[in-house]
Amino acid sequence: MKIRPYGDTLNDGLVQVSFTLPIALSAKATQAAKELAKNMGLINPSVVHSEEIGKNFSFYIIYGALNAFVDLEKIKVKELEKSSKSKKEIEEIIKNNFKKDIVVIGASTGTDAHTVGIDAIMNMKGFDGHYGLERYQGIKAINLGSQVSNEDFIKIARKEKADVLLVSQTVTQKDVHLKNLVDLVELLESEELRDKVILIAGGARINHELAKELGYDAGFGPGNFAEDVASFIIDELLNRKED
């Protein structure tokens, strides 16, 4: 099925765009904004608002019809098939399949001080009514908090014999998170630990596809809770056992 953006009628293609140009407002500048919109594939773009927002800066709001379709059949997403088990089910599976507790270590790494995300997954109280991993029987959850260097993280992982590493990254400005995440993978590899753990990333701008690309086993963005992560962990551990 081919689809297009929808304003108020099927296939009208209507989209809204806004941006700033680093020049003062003028008829010419407005025309430049229109040209850019055309360049984006909008037919008949209409500059519905333009405003000077500081010496030599002007802001534009544009509506126009996008002259492009996307073919849904051709879209492949590396989507995590969520098995979405409940806390109870997960605890049951662990009890029946594993002799000792699964050790999960989490941290917000690098200079990132955002802990709310990793806490949401790990802490007792959890998030939005979903209990965190600390409350799961059969899981030993160790939350190292924020600003943990990759080196310290690995040191503790080794000491605690971690089965699973959870990395949270929130600050994405200038793609610092990518660097941090890749560094960890490299460090793990050089210490020959990469294959011994399940490595999972998470954060506001993380998704499964991105995480896979960076060499992680999975990635979780907003809207995921402890049970989603635990489900993945269990499935993956059982899988690896079989191999």
């Binding site: 304003g7 108020d8 009628t9 809204q16 519905v48 608002h49 709001i61 509506y63």
Partner: protein, 518 residues
């Protein structure tokens, strides 16, 4: 509700002036009828459909009498006489009519009482259907409940199928009331288009079939959501009573119904539309349909600070007109609006004053509160904020019918996402400020109280003036929306006629009997 310390004597005096103004016009109305009133009678006898040139049959019949007979007698007598003379059912007669090309005026006219007798089965059937609709509505509302403030959105794609999708999406998102905007210019047509339509400009044609399609779609989604979703359309215009009848038959819940709007913003002749309005409002009352009046529009043309009192005065007049047509307060959706330039110092306080004033003057009316439009520009973020401010005033002054503002007001009729975002905006305000109205008191003799009292005082002076000059003269002077309209200019005057002493209108007779009883 008494937050403004209003002068009760002044309010009573306003009501008295308005009553006298309306009675004056009513005296004129009582002596006249219009082609659209007569067409409405036909519709309520069960006549529908179009001829091969797409001319509605009701128009054909009324034109026939206008050309070949004496329309001042009303259409009822002609149709009854024809049935009597041909001894046919209405349907059979109409078939023969189009085959034969014989005029409707070819038959001997029968007596008034015979007219009534012959037509009674026909109009009774339809009035019963209307009564039934009223009952269904009541039942559903009783079952599902009704929110204190109802969120009202419009759909306006021009295509009824697309409208349906969007109306259902809106209901799912949280809308309580959906209005299908009419195509630009429909209100100037002296006939109602027929059948399902998928092409309109800035709106979708109001046809009975489109009404039916949308009613069904809303019932469907309402059932799914356990809510009753109200349906709105527009009656004001040259076919006011016809649309009132169609709306009644298809269980619409709200109709925009205001002569003043037609006169001022559509240049419809005042006599024509006052007569039409009377009959259409009687139908609204009978069918339990809420009317919406268009005072809000004045402020899209005039300055909302200086001319606020014209809105208030007009509300009083519209209330009086509505009472004349036997409309109970609970069906009077008098209009007002949030239209002050937000750059004006304390404009928000003035908006509170105006909204609270309307609330306190008409405590039992389901007021229709309109969002900012005039001072919205293409900056959709700014517009989203203005709508939030508007939503707050609604909440703070406990309005009933809450028309949601769109962030793209200055750009296009709403996209599906505009509407969704507008609903979420209102919901955030409703939720986060739930008890604000109860919590907050205005300072005694403060800015808000002073402003409200001033507007009331100016409205009072204006009503006094109008009472002296009369409504027609007032409209000639351009008091409302600074727009001048002459008594004998404007569209549709040729459709007005004086009623003969022998005039008979079987439907209005029936309705009047009903109102006298109830």
């Amino acid at each position: 509700m008494n937050k403004l310390n209003l002068n009760n004597e002044m309010i009573t005096s306003c009501r008295n002036y308005a009553k006298s103004i309306a009675k004056d016009v009513q005296a004129y109305i009582n002596k006249h009828s219009t082609v659209s009133v007569e067409r409405t009678v036909l519709r309520l006898l069960g006549i529908d459909g179009v001829d091969k040139f797409d001319v509605p049959i009701v128009n054909r019949l009324v034109e026939d009498v206008k050309e070949n007979g004496d329309i001042s007698l009303g259409i009822s007598i002609y149709i009854a006489s024809a049935l009597k003379a041909t001894n046919k059912s209405l349907n059979d007669y109409l078939e023969a009519y189009f085959d034969s090309r014989d005029s409707l005026t070819s038959y001997n006219l029968i007596s008034k009482s015979e007219v009534k007798k012959i037509l009674k089965p026909y109009y009774e059937k339809n009035l019963k259907k209307i009564t039934k609709n009223r009952e269904i509505r009541s039942k559903l509302i009783n079952k599902f409940g009704e929110r204190k403030t109802e969120l009202y959105v419009i759909v306006a794609t021009g295509n009824i199928d697309e409208d349906v999708l969007q109306a259902q999406a809106a209901a799912r998102a949280g809308a309580d009331i959906v209005a299908v905007i009419r195509s630009t210019g429909q209100s100037l047509l002296d006939y109602v288009p027929y059948g399902k339509t998928t092409e309109g400009f800035g709106g979708t044609y109001a046809t009975q079939e489109n009404f039916k399609i949308m009613r069904q779609a809303l019932d469907e989604v309402g059932g799914e959501l356990n809510r009753y979703i109200k349906l709105v359309n527009y009656a004001s215009g040259l076919c006011m009573p016809e649309i009132a009848a169609m709306g009644a038959l298809e269980r619409l819940d709200v109709l925009l119904n205001d002569s003043m709007y037609g006169i001022i913003f559509r240049d419809i002749n005042m006599k024509r539309t006052f007569i039409d309005q009377y009959f259409s409002r009687m139908l609204n009352s009978y069918s339990g349909i809420i009317i919406n009046t268009g005072e809000d529009n004045y402020l899209t043309t005039s300055d909302a600070v200086l001319e606020a009192h014209t809105v208030t005065a007009s509300q009083f007049i519209n209330e009086a007109f509505a009472f004349e047509a036997h409309l109970p307060e609970k069906l009077m959706g008098l209009g007002h609006a949030f239209e002050i330039n937000p750059n004006i110092e304390n404009s928000f306080l003035m908006e509170i004053a105006q909204a609270q004033l309307s609330r306190e003057l008409f405590p039992n009316a389901p007021l229709k509160y309109m969002p900012p439009t005039k001072h919205i520009n293409g900056n959709i973020f700014r517009a989203y904020q203005q709508n939030a401010l508007f939503n707050i005033v609604t909440n703070l002054t406990e309005q009933k019918i809450h028309l949601l503002g769109m962030m793209t007001e200055a750009i296009h009729t709403p996209f599906i996402s505009d509407r969704y975002l507008a609903i979420k905006n209102a919901e955030m305000v409703q939720q986060s400020m739930k008890s604000l109205a109860d919590e907050i008191v205005f300072k005694e003799e403060g800015f808000i109280q002073k402003r409200a009292n001033k507007v009331l005082k100016n409205a009072h002076s204006l009503l006094k003036e109008i009472k002296t000059e009369g409504m027609f003269k007032t409209l000639e002077k351009g008091v409302f929306a600074e727009t001048k309209r002459a008594e004998n200019a404007g569209k549709g005057l040729d459709g007005v006629f004086e009623k003969s002493t022998n005039y008979i209108n079987v439907v209005s007779a029936e309705l009047e009997a009903y109102f006298n009883e109830n």
